[in-house]
């Protein structure tokens, strides 16, 4: 099957510091690539480079007609800005020349109400906010969805809902996804491929082949003795491990 995205020998230097070195991976239609790694390992830089926001060496090849939907971890902007999602959706619809019907359909499918669209962004709950960001990403029928820890700021039931929603859209539309995650349960359940990032080395492949206790220890810099147990029963405990091994 044709690749939606093909990355070869990608190197990114920012301010004379090498953030990413020689990264290669392919992503096909319907696949989910999980990107894992400690804080500061360049996960977000990788996503932004794919979005075209940073200069790079190597090649990033997108299939013709690739449309990207992006769901950020959080928004750095002042949440008290006098704007609502109706303004933001209007901007995207304007740039992509989308019909009102397209926007309405996506909002209905994700389950975003009209009231939410008219509420100032700063007044939305974390769950409403993330869900509307997902709807924002999904309008315009993207072929590649990029998610940067989209569930970091919401509680667990909503997190599961959001994952399920993304997965449903992937099934229905054959969407490829790149998903930065700290959550190994998610990686095992949904990812078809895993890319591990850190400064000392990296891995790429299917989750069960790549994510051995040895690679995880190397990746996060501490033994994760019970990871096999955690990923089945209580993935919250994994967050603690993952946040510790900062490499920068």
């Amino acid at each position: 099957m044709a690749n939606v995205l093909s990355v070869r020998n990608l190197t990114v230097r920012l301010d004379d510091r090498t953030i990413l070195r020689n990264i290669s991976f392919d992503l096909e239609r319907g696949e989910t690539l999980a990107v894992i790694g400690p804080n500061g390992s360049g996960k977000t830089v990788l996503l932004k480079t794919i979005l075209g926001m940073y200069p790079y060496e190597g090649t990033i090849e997108r299939a013709p007609d690739t449309r990207i939907g992006y769901v950020p971890q959080r928004i750095d902007a002042d949440r008290h800005l006098p704007l609502n999602f109706k303004n933001l959706l209007a901007a995207k619809a304007d740039v992509l020349k989308l019909s009102a019907g397209d926007v309405e359909d996506t909002l209905r499918a994700v389950g975003v109400s009209h009231d939410v669209l008219l509420t100032p962004v700063g007044h939305l709950s974390g769950g409403q906010f993330q869900k509307t960001l997902l709807a924002f990403a999904l309008i315009g029928k993207p072929t590649l969805l990029i998610l940067d820890e989209p569930t970091a700021s919401i509680d667990q039931p909503r997190e599961e809902q959001l994952h399920a929603l993304v997965h449903r859209f992937q099934d229905e539309r054959g969407l490829a996804a790149i998903h930065v995650s700290h959550d190994l349960t998610f990686v095992y359940r949904y990812a078809t491929k895993v890319l591990c990032l850190n400064e000392r080395g990296l891995c790429f492949g299917a989750p069960r082949e790549v994510l051995t206790p040895e690679t995880l220890e190397k990746l996060y810099g501490e033994p994760l003795a019970h990871y096999e147990h955690h990923h089945r029963h209580d993935h919250n405990q994994n967050h603690g491990h993952n946040d510790d091994g900062s490499s920068s």
């Binding site: 979005l51 704007l83 901007a91």
Partner: protein
């Protein structure tokens, strides 16, 4: 008082209210003061060459705008530091080459009578600024809310930023004529601060900022005319009083 000057001042107020709203959201409210001071050496050179001072100011503003745009793009440089250096250097150079009388005009506004050409070009600039804001308001909002979302939606953030900065500089140029380098920043920022205080919604925000700017200019002109004092400082004082009044409203 000359109706052309008043018309152009009102048009300038509309432009400043709109452009200022985005400056406030982009957290670049002090950029107005910086750019207006960068315009000073341009004014000085124009005075020396006996040119229309606004031509000199326009040229200096263009250079300043491109400079700020470039600096803003390079991540490995503190934009604020650079702007601080350039801005004070510009003032120093301007003071060295301008007579004190011209300098007062340049700093506080009011140089010369308005010529028909200046009026027409000024009104064209107003129309351009207003049209730009209405055409691109949603895109501007998207880039300032999240550059990543804007990039994913296929927007060229760099180009939009440059366009906005140019429109911003044009608004400064319009305002320099009657407010001068020191006060023009106030017409950009104070009405927007009032709008921000009173509303949560983009359209209402733009409407209130613009109305506050227009009201400041109208009241400023009336008061200045009645008491025979300089217009610019009165306009800015009125805007500041309106801002204080807006603080009485408790924001949700």
């Amino acid at each position: 008082m000359d109706p052309y000057s008043i018309t152009l001042a009102l048009g300038t107020a509309v432009a400043a209210g709109l452009v200022g709203s985005f400056a406030l959201m982009k957290r670049m409210t002090l950029a107005g003061d910086v750019l207006s001071h960068i315009a000073l050496p341009g004014l000085g050179i124009a005075f020396l060459l006996k040119l229309n001072p606004l031509i000199g100011a326009a040229a200096a503003l263009l250079v300043g705008t491109l400079l700020i745009w470039r600096l803003d793009r390079s991540a490995n440089f503190s934009t604020e530091t650079a702007i601080g250096v350039i801005f004070t250097a510009a003032v120093a150079v301007a003071v060295l080459m301008t007579t004190s009388e011209e300098l007062i005009d340049a700093l506080f506004g009011g140089f010369g009578a308005l010529t028909p050409i200046e009026f027409i070009l000024g009104m064209l600039a107003v129309v351009l600024v207003v049209a730009f804001v209405f055409r691109f308001k949603d895109r501007l909002v998207l880039t300032l809310f999240s550059p990543e979302l804007a990039a994913a939606a296929g927007l060229s953030i760099d180009r939009l930023n440059l366009a906005y900065l140019l429109v911003f500089a044009l608004t400064i140029l319009l305002g320099m004529r009657f407010l001068g380098a020191i006060l023009v920043g106030a017409l950009i920022i104070t009405p927007a601060a009032i709008g921000r205080q009173l509303t949560h919604n983009l359209s209402a925000f733009l409407a209130i900022s613009t109305s506050a700017a227009v009201l400041s200019v109208v009241l400023g002109f009336i008061i200045a005319d009645r008491y025979g004092i300089q217009t610019g400082p009165v306009v800015v004082t009125v805007a500041a009083v309106l801002f204080l009044l807006s603080l009485l409203k408790r924001k949700r």
